[in-house]
């Protein structure tokens, strides 16, 4: 595999996983904080959320395949076998990871933050934004977990992306293809690049968190 193609695949992996993480974070972060404010959302809510952590990626892929295929309800959008379909599927997989991280990090600080806000005359509605800011270290970890889940995902990416060269091929699907072809050196190189990208993004989030 040529260096140019390697770079192209790496960059695609990065933006697909990055966009999926951002897309998932928008509803997942407020949901995690809201559940924390509501005492964890009850045992049923937590079971549902944590069950999402074990969501099989091929099942999510299959769901989006059926949804986006030509005869599916969203087939007219023409998204199947595009990177955008991969973004959607990976966002669904990253969503419970981010929400669960935020919930578990913010839960321990809710009472303290609520007491502080209310004792200084603040309103209940000011607890959530304060909790958001106070949970920023957890947010960095949650985003790192979501990104890690998205970039390392292969089942859904293959099903809805189709691993089309120069179009939807990402690091994980490329590793599978190279391994099947017996190109173990290439597969191993791609694996190291994948690890490097994941490490780089996580390091960036940790640095941002410290700032």
């Amino acid at each position: 595999m040529e260096a140019a193609e390697l770079l192209e695949i790496s960059l695609r992996s990065l933006w697909v996983a990055g966009l999926a993480t951002l897309l998932a974070a928008f509803p997942a972060v407020p949901l995690g904080l809201w559940l924390a404010l509501k005492g964890g959302g009850g045992i049923f809510g937590r079971i549902l959320l944590y069950a999402g952590l074990a969501l099989p990626s091929v099942v999510v892929g299959l769901f989006f395949y059926l949804l986006l295929s030509r005869s599916g309800p969203l087939g007219s959008l023409g998204l199947l076998y595009t990177p955008y379909a991969m973004v959607l599927a990976e966002a669904v997989l990253a969503f419970p990871l981010i929400a669960a991280f935020v919930l578990s990090g913010a839960r321990g600080r809710v009472e303290e933050v609520r007491l502080l806000v209310r004792s200084l005359g603040g309103k209940e509605g000011q607890v959530l934004p304060t909790l958001f800011w106070e949970s920023r270290r957890t947010l960095a970890a949650a985003l790192a977990a979501g990104f890690g889940g998205a970039i390392s995902e292969v089942g859904a990416a293959t099903l809805v992306g189709g691993d089309i060269r120069h179009h939807t091929r990402v690091l994980t699907t490329a590793i599978v293809v190279e391994t099947r072809k017996g190109e173990l050196e290439s597969a191993l190189a791609l694996g190291f690049i994948l690890l490097g990208v994941a490490l780089l993004v996580t390091a960036l989030l940790v640095i941002l968190e410290r700032e």
Partner: protein, 226 residues
């Protein structure tokens, strides 16, 4: 003179415990001490008065009252940002809030630590910061739950000076404490609670010289168990 805080017919229950306070008020410039053995309902009373708990019966009236818990919560921010937090909650613009907070930090001797993370402060500094933060929102009444329980004598005196100044500035102060010497130094009046009931209410001098209730007397002599 009208009170800055007035409570009537307060009743609050949790489990078997029942707190009952038929009448309580504090006036501007007054320091009212709430005394009682552990578990007598002091913290619950302060939280009811602060509006952090809703009473089953009764009502609390008066101006804005701020509450300072025994372990003041800190934000994971700088000392200065912690001090300014109450003003931000009130919508005061950031630069104004920080400027006012810094002036108050100067008054309480924490200006040199304004930029450092608040969690690096000592116990005494945390209480001074929390008290400064509370005073900055200009409450009519200040409700404090054992603010000096874990402080050394020097820091205790600094906090007491702040409380005196707050009262002299026209605030009503309600102070729950176990420190009888502190009550003697600061309080104008004493409310004595036992098992959720107001057993005695008296001017501080009279309470210490001749407590009228046998339980108050036993408490002062260290013989009253919760």
């Amino acid at each position: 003179m009208s009170p800055v805080l007035q409570a009537q017919g307060l009743v609050h229950r949790y489990g078997d415990f029942r707190l009952e306070v038929p009448h309580l008020e504090v006036y501007a410039g007054e320091i009212l001490a709430v005394l009682g053995p552990s578990g007598s309902g002091k913290t619950t009373l302060l939280r009811l008065l602060a509006g952090l708990l809703s009473p089953e019966e009764g009502q609390v009236e008066g101006g804005f009252r701020a509450y300072l818990p025994q372990t003041p919560p800190l934000l994971q921010r700088s000392v200065l940002e912690n001090a300014a937090f109450g003003l931000w909650l009130r919508g005061v613009p950031r630069h104004q809030a920080l400027a006012r907070a810094f002036r108050l930090l100067e008054e309480v001797g924490l200006e040199g630590k304004a930029r450092q993370p608040a969690h690096l402060l000592s116990g005494g500094e945390v209480v001074r910061l929390a008290l400064a933060r509370t005073l900055l929102v200009e409450p009519a009444a200040l409700l404090l739950d054992e603010p000096t329980a874990s402080l050394d004598p020097a820091n205790t005196l600094k906090v007491e000076a702040m409380l005196k100044e707050a009262a002299e500035g026209g605030r009503g102060v309600i102070l729950a404490t176990h420190d009888l010497f502190q009550v003697r130094r600061l309080a104008h009046r004493v409310v004595f609670l036992f098992q959720g009931q107001v057993v005695e209410e008296a001017p501080a001098d009279r309470f210490f010289q001749s407590p009228r209730d046998s339980r108050s007397q036993a408490f002062l002599e260290g013989r009253l168990l919760p």
